[in-house]
Symmetry: none
Subunit: 150 residues, 2 copies
DNA sequence: TGAATTCCCATAATATCCCATGGATTGCCA
DNA sequence: TGGCAATCCATGGGATATTATGGGAATTCA
């Protein structure tokens, strides 16, 4: 499970460390899958398990009629077509390709945000602003915590 | 799994490199299967596993009555009948036959787009236009990401 | 025999691996 | 509980391997 938030530096080679907790969540195949979000200037990602889930989810929805084949293909193009498999070395580092860096406006460092089954990568300042907005929204919505089924 | 997008040059002999990530996804039999799309000026393709899946899928749908035998044969003609098995050499290159090149209007380079269990091959500019359209479509349709079942 | 195709080698750019280091945290044991 | 040792983590730099691509030699086909 991808948990917590960590900011790591991006060195001259474009390398950055995947948070160690994320690596534990991924399992044996040492790689993350990252793609540009269609919803803003940040990256989305996960492990192999997430990619498999996405693929199955798209298939199932087309099969049960809740997603048009054209929409399914659009999502596949924007997700699978843009996603990169980034293997990390023994020290847990990936290299962020230029196109991903540019999409998220990443320069000296990157903020990894765990979201359970997936994670996001933000420019640190952009994430601060985003987080403030999220806090307001949470306060105005029905909180899950407190009424979770035991 | 076929992931990411890569544009590779087509040299004077008609050779182009299959993206290395695609080769990893294919396995031991060093070949891709490519055919002209019936939906537009691009190519569709995959590995041996995809061809087997397509064949089984067609069979199953005929068996459960959701596909007419005549339609099944039509699809077989346009898919199996048009598909080419293109083996790649030690450096990962295939030669794109003329009929495929012409169908997709390929000249100096080809863009490979991973779509999970399959991929597409586009002329680079055509793919840019297509991708923009896909992005609009994605923004207007229910996103799979974010609500993937854990 | 001529044209096309396949195979093989070369190369520059890039990505990957490997070792080293410092800082912080954790664990252990008195 | 306090302090020392060991471990883990993030990061830097250099060495190695891979990739994409060009060109030539060998082979096949008509």
């Amino acid at each position: 499970m991808f948990l917590s938030t960590a900011t790591h530096s991006i060195d001259a080679k474009g390398r950055t460390s995947v948070p160690s907790g994320f690596r534990d969540a991924i399992g044996e195949d040492a790689a993350v899958f990252i793609w540009p979000s269609v919803r803003g200037a940040f990256l989305e990602g996960g492990g192999k398990a997430l990619m498999d889930s996405v693929q199955r989810e798209i298939f199932d929805r087309v099969a049960d009629g809740s997603l048009l084949p054209e929409d399914a293909e659009a999502q596949q193009v924007m997700l699978m077509g843009a996603a990169q498999r980034l293997g990390y070395d023994k020290t847990g580092r990936i290299v962020l390709p230029d196109n991903l860096r540019q999409h998220a406006n990443l320069s000296a460092s990157a903020t990894f945000v765990g979201l359970g089954n997936r994670f996001q990568v933000w420019d640190p300042e952009a994430h601060e602003a985003r987080k403030a907005a999220m806090e307001d929204r949470v306060k105005a919505s029905p909180l899950v915590m407190g009424i979770v089924r035991p």
